[in-house]
């Protein structure tokens, strides 16, 4: 797996350095993590990185299409690996839990709406804010 990661990085024109490999590895968890969370995790596991490096690496990964950046809450951004099959998110306002989902009906409807207004749909951002049903 690490060999694979190395290749992925090189294909993206990025030298396979330790910070990059470590960050990639953390992202494999499938969680939605902030730069700071990743940074803290590395420090706690006694790998010394600079927070700036974490930001730089994440930005490079984003540009390379390796990760996707979200801003569910206004201030800090979170990152997740781009598994390349698109999904949207639901955030529980009570627990903060993030649920991923995909809905073809909504997707195609979005296309139609853009078209109807004379535009091509390039991308979209959709987050549902929810609470556990009682």
């Amino acid at each position: 797996m690490s060999e694979n990661t190395k290749k992925n990085l090189q294909e993206a024109g990025l030298k396979s350095t330790l910070p990059r490999l470590k960050i990639m590895e953390i992202l494999q968890s499938g969680k939605h993590l902030s730069a700071e969370e990743i940074y803290k995790y590395l420090i706690d596991n006694s790998y010394d990185v600079g927070l700036a490096t974490v930001y730089r690496v994440l930005t490079q990964f984003e540009n390379a299409g390796i990760v996707i950046k979200h801003s569910f809450e206004s201030s800090k951004s979170v990152y997740e690996l781009n598994d390349s099959d698109h999904h949207d998110h639901m955030v529980c306002l009570e627990s903060g839990k993030i649920i991923e989902f995909h809905d073809e009906i909504i997707e195609s409807r979005q296309e139609e709406i853009a078209k109807k207004h004379g535009y091509d749909l390039i991308d979209h951002n959709m987050v549902l804010y929810v609470k556990k049903k009682k």
Copy 2:
């Protein structure tokens, strides 16, 4: 109209002060404006406010349900009057133009999705990023 505005403010427990009335008036334009844009507009029209006041007023308005805050681009937020009939937004990546729309199919689909996962839909955020059809 200004009398009405005054009443609205008071109902929200906010004294009807000049900064608040002026900001309310600017928002009537129906545009999506940032705090800084509102601030500049006031200064340019020779009404001296502090930027901090603009932020404070907008936050109070948001809490009172008078305005809605969006973050279409990551950094600055924009505000619009809450006309209380809900709509979503489409942003043109080339011109920056913002188009409002409402789609019942998507709305009800969102409800269903939340339910299907055992949640109640409280709110949502949806932005389509588009480009003019060529």
